[in-house]
């Protein structure tokens, strides 16, 4: 075990602009590893369902170039998880293409490993839905991924990889793999990873700047690479709550991180030392599964009303014109989802999910015209009930997606599910 393993978390969301000054400060501390998370399920089903990246390509390239050049200059591993937002094959391929192009442009040579996270469909029937998830819809699933754990990154590092680009991965796995491989206690490695995967979000004030963790055999010290962000015992402890169902328990593919014994102690005004977490390995590993696919074409009607009489009964008026619309355009193949915002002047966003974009626009066009001129008792505004910020007020918002799988499966072994491919670049 090397004393004082330094882990630099460059980004919790690569592709949206890594703050350069804090990252440079982190690189100057000679980290043993640079890690970056590139994805999440948070942005919704559209990215997984479509295979598209949430980040703009030019920003993804900019961030990848920043971390790749720094890691190669230092000669330390660069680990990137949940490539291309959702971490399915198209996301992974797009990210790998960017990495190869950056390598070519800068004449870099390194061993590149990619780890796919696309799951076989037959894993789903035995899996358990998470939370209030509906029954899985495999026929409606375009992409099905599983969250890989540390074992996948460790396999890649064992294969001599200097740059690892992984499909869908647990955020923790990116940062915990090397410490675990180097012999640090899994509990410490996981707890450290859980905190730094959001970079400086665990600080006061929180931010997106790079975060440095220094591990020893008994604990780790956290420090933001932005001088104005302080990792205090309270801010770090409070981060355990973030996006978690349970502040004391973190479920990982290979086991459970138990934070009940965790201690947070100030080193100075800007640094906190953490220890005391426990790790319970799982007898059979688990994989969290995520699937998504299209559920229709989305169009939206955007308009408003400033008339108090209209605003007061807008839900009723909508019900009336929805019935009229269904009578006129045929009832069956679309759904309508109105949202009304505001009170003095109400904004109406009406979402229509239909089989085609043209069909959705036809539905909303009929509905809009009828809502505009719908009479009701006490109506004064007989010129029209609505204001349109522009016309046409109905716009196509592209294909709509929904999550089709959000389940967890018990498996015999993780490795066969997350195949590794290694290539020498340059």
């Amino acid at each position: 075990m090397t004393p004082g393993l330094r882990v630099l978390s460059a980004s919790g969301q690569l592709g949206f602009g890594i703050p350069a000054a804090a990252f440079a400060a982190g690189v100057a501390r000679a980290p043993d590893l640079i890690g970056a998370d590139m994805g999440s399920i948070d942005p919704g089903p559209a990215y997984l369902g479509s295979g598209r990246m949430a980040a703009a390509p030019e920003m993804a390239r900019r961030d990848l170039e920043l971390v790749l050049l720094a890691a190669r200059r230092l000669g330390v591993p660069l680990l990137i998880g949940s490539a291309g937002t959702a971490g399915a094959r198209p996301h992974l391929d797009a990210t790998l293409d960017m990495v190869r192009a950056i390598a070519r442009a800068h004449g870099l040579r390194f061993r590149l490993a990619s780890i796919a996270a696309d799951m076989p469909r037959d894993i789903v029937p035995g899996a358990r839905p998470l939370g209030a998830m509906r029954a899985a819809d495999l026929a409606g699933t375009t992409h099905l991924v599983g969250q890989m754990g540390t074992e996948a990154f460790i396999r890649a590092l064992d294969a001599g990889a200097e740059v690892v680009v992984a499909g869908r991965a647990c955020d923790t796995a990116i940062f915990a793999a090397l410490p675990v491989l180097r012999g640090y206690p899994t509990a410490l490695a996981m707890h450290m990873a859980k905190i730094v995967e959001c970079t400086s979000l665990c600080c006061e004030p929180g931010g997106r700047d790079a975060m440095l963790a220094t591990l020893d055999a008994d604990g780790f010290v956290l420090e933001s690479m932005h001088p104005d962000r302080a990792a205090t015992p309270l801010s770090v402890a409070a981060h355990a709550l973030y996006e978690q169902e349970d502040p004391y328990t973190v479920e990982e593919p290979e086991g459970t991180l138990d934070l009940r014994g965790a201690r947070y102690t100030a080193v100075d005004a800007r640094r906190t030392r953490v220890d005391g977490a426990a790790w319970r390995p799982r007898a059979r590993p688990t994989v969290k599964l995520e699937g998504a696919g299209p559920c229709g074409e989305r169009s939206v009607l955007l308009c408003s009303s400033a008339d108090p009489a209209v605003i007061a009964r807008l839900p009723d008026l909508l019900a009336t014109v929805e019935a009229t619309t269904r009578e006129l355009v045929g009832a069956g193949d679309f759904t309508l989802h109105p949202r009304i915002y505001g009170e003095r002047e109400a904004f109406l966003l009406l979402e229509c999910i239909a089989p085609t974009a043209a069909r959705g626009l036809a539905v909303l066009g009929v509905l809009r015209q009828h809502l505009l001129h719908l009479g009701f008792p006490g109506r004064l505004s007989t010129g029209g009930n609505l204001a349109f910020p522009f016309t046409p007020a109905e716009v196509s918002a592209g294909t709509a997606y929904r999550f089709t799988v959000y389940h967890v499966a018990e498996v015999d072994a993780l490795a066969p599910l997350f195949p590794l491919a290694v290539e020498d670049v340059g």
Partner: protein
């Protein structure tokens, strides 16, 4: 009258996966957390949100966590808040 918005340092909501919503309330002192905790019983929070809620005290962070099922899977047609980041507002005016 003191409201939760006056007492808490942070009142934030966010998804914990696409099927769960979690709301964190962070306070500067254990006493403030206790004062809010006395008001934020599971029954009171469930009534406010119209959904069964769990309330978890988290002393290491002077914090209270609320967990409930999302009424709609994140990103489904009709969802109003894909990230679940604006579901905290109902709590702001709660008198403590």
């Amino acid at each position: 009258m003191t409201r939760l918005a006056d007492l808490a340092r942070v009142v934030r909501s966010k998804n914990a996966g696409p099927t769960l919503l979690t709301i964190d309330l962070l306070f500067d002192t254990p006493a403030q957390a206790a004062r809010a905790g006395a008001v934020l019983t599971p029954a009171a929070v469930s009534a406010l949100y119209g959904a069964p809620a769990r309330v978890i005290a988290y002393p290491p962070g002077n914090a209270i966590k609320i967990v409930m099922a999302r009424a709609i899977v994140a990103g489904d047609p009709g969802d109003r808040d894909v990230y679940g980041a604006q579901q905290h507002a109902l709590l702001l005016e709660v008198p403590v």
